[in-house]
Amino acid sequence: MKKNRTAMLLAMALGSTALVVGSVLPAANAASGQNAKAVGPAPKIAGTKIGGTLNYTGKSDYAHLDPQRCYSTGCGNFGRLLWRTLTGYQNVNGKLTLVGDLASDVGVASNGSKTWTFKLRPNIKWEDGTTTTCAELEYGIKRSFDGTDATSPLLTGGISYASVFIENKNGYKGPYETPDKTLSGVSCGKSGSVETITFNLTQASGDFNQQTTMGAYAAVKPSKDTKASYDNQVFSNGPYKIETRVYKDKTIVVRNTYWDAKTDPIRVAAPDKIDLLFGQDSVNTNNLYIENTGRAVNGFANGPLAQNTSLIYDSELDALQPIFEKRGFYGPSIVTDWLAINVEKVTDINLRKAIQCAFNKESARATLGGKSLGDYTNSLTPTMLGGYSKYTVCTDNPKGDVAAAKAYMAKVKTNKEITFVYSNATKDSENMALSLQSSLTKAGIKVKIKPIDSTTYYDILEQQGPDAPDLMLYGWAYDWPNASTVYPPLFDSSLVGASLVGENKSRVKDKKLDAMMKAASAESNPTKQAALWAGVDKYITNTIAAVVPFYQGKTLYWNGSNVGGIYFSPMASMDWANLYLKDPKK
């Protein structure tokens, strides 16, 4: 359940730039297969060389590196170098295959997908040379209950999937608050000489083995658990271990000498050392990568548009383009943005359909950054997910269809004034609001735009009552490449409460939709499941017209001339696991 606030804010901060720069790296379709028998070493990209120091230059540090607290694509992506999860994605040039990581298979479902059993991979070593056991994995999973269930949690920031899905009969609240209780839904066992772990779930889940790719399903050695401080003292069983970590300043990881590539089907881990520097000024970073000197040669960084675009307007970007083409790259991000229509307040479906038709995406996108912001879409599912399908919502013309909107307006009984709310943080979001107002007004829809103080903006979005907005811009990034992490967290009717609506900004309470989402979640055949999600998508956009799909975002990066193994990962824009240095001695 990941609301991609950062991505939205970044998108809104993009400013008036609309250049297509760099080389487009396509992200492969993520709805790929699984390999229950994958073994190490991980497949290497042609030309991969081992050794050297890879650099990263960033503006902000990862909020958490503790696996049970990690909940952003950034830390999930980098954290995989320090901790191994039950399952994971083998990623070859952006093509994902679900494989066992701590497990040696991808799990076996029984009891109608309510029970899952995984065989564990032997000989996975901690950084002190001891072997990772099932008890340590179980302990790690139990830690995520502290963040979600404990009275005064120490491990805040994580995801609630584990505590929602894993059966918990004894009121287990994490290893610190309830050390004497047991978590009923998890048990370790043996199958011959191999350890196994079994999960009993609260609900049928056809893609539970994808959920187990999340940090919540990483092992933690109890004797090394420093609770809240574990964030900066992660005890590694991945290819690298922490050498230096100064939060918000720098992090250096070096090889975990006990890690054996033969046990790891996911991580190539080519560089000997990775040096991350945070809190860096975007202008300096840009200059560094423009000149390709110093840290930049062996490094990568967020692209110029993704950091602070107010520094790079128009003429400057024009000048940058040839350089960005050589040493920058961009591709689709996993974020989609849309206009959420509050169906409880905008009750007339004809009015909602009129909004869908009248919205001028071209004009609105231009105010937020133009082509560099993203590509128009009619689906809430990002293109790389199974369940994405190309279809039409009212019109394919990004300018909208005023005539069609007027036709719907003719059927509207009471022409209610629509209030669109936006954050006053940037002038770009104000411009976008003005653009939206203009395009809807042309179709005869009455629109009031209302700026909200940026500090209370997200609270206002989920509040019920007289102040509840009618229309708002919202975005989402999936948690693992399955639409089951898009629709149920956003449209389940149980989210809509009397005072708060959580992520269900459209306030949809639709029993038929609930049933459709439940059926899709329970389906374990990926092809059939994708078709079911596509049906859910069209039901939301076309049948009940609860949203106006807008665009799928883009992500931009700089890279140094000596860095190879770059491709767009459907997991999170960049994949650390396969980066290498073309000349390790440089």
Binding site: G15, S16, G370, K371, N424, S435, Q437, S438
Partner: protein, 319 residues
Amino acid sequence: MANATGEPLAQNLSLTQIAWHRFKQDKAALFALGVVGVFVFLAVFANVFGWITHQDPYLFNEDAINLDAGGIPLGRLSGQGAQHWLGVEPGTGRDLFMRFVHGARTSLVIAFVSTIGTITIGTFVGLVAGYFGGWVEKIIGRLIDFILAFPFLLFVIAATPIIENAFTRLGIEQSPTFRIITIIGIFVFFGWTGTARLVRGQVLSIKEKEFIDAARVSGAGKWHIIFKEILPNLTGPIFVVASLALPAYVTAEAVLSYLNVGVIAPTASWGATVLRSTSFFQVNPFYMLVPAVSLTVLVLSFNLFGDGVRDAFDPKSRK
């Protein structure tokens, strides 16, 4: 009849009439008044300019900007021409001249209403404190000290959302108009103290004069003495305070809007325009210069006018 220095013979004229006569001699002040007049004219007839140029200050105009290049205005500089006298706003295509004249309206409405509010409250409180003295004066004095101790800018930034949320709970919805009322309210809340102190001081000296005693002896009531005997003698100082308060409120409104805590979209404001224009200074300097220079000129004119008024009422203050 006038004497050799051009001063009118005092015996037939009121203080205000004498002051007006002196003011007319002050060329700088007259010129300043003229400039203020021009801005007032622009503000009052803002809509008429809209009828002439067929422009709207609030409407997003995608025909005037290049959507493929991030909303850069089409045409020379930033689209100046017969239609758009000052060009259009980058990103939205709104007409900058219309934003300018409507911004003048916002500025002047807030400044004039706030001034009238502060002067009215300040004068009344000052009269009461000065005339009655005793515990009334003590309480008012402490209240003034208390309000003067408030950090103004911090208070405005922190309190505006709280005030508005409180009114939202009462069923009054937040709106651009309501924000203007809130700003005026805050200005008045902080502004009356200066006037009150000044008036109190004046009252203290006037109430000892013989004509007040005469009025009292002849049976005049308290409120008659305050409003009919004392107040007319305070016209000069009050007028001076008012003419100096106006430019202060013009500046304060612009500062708040620049800090993004002033008027809210889509209200036009010079401060908000300056805030938007900073990234475009190299592309179109007029975008920033027109509101910024106008702000300076208006404040300067108000100040010169205020100085002229002060000199007219109190020629000894002139060096």
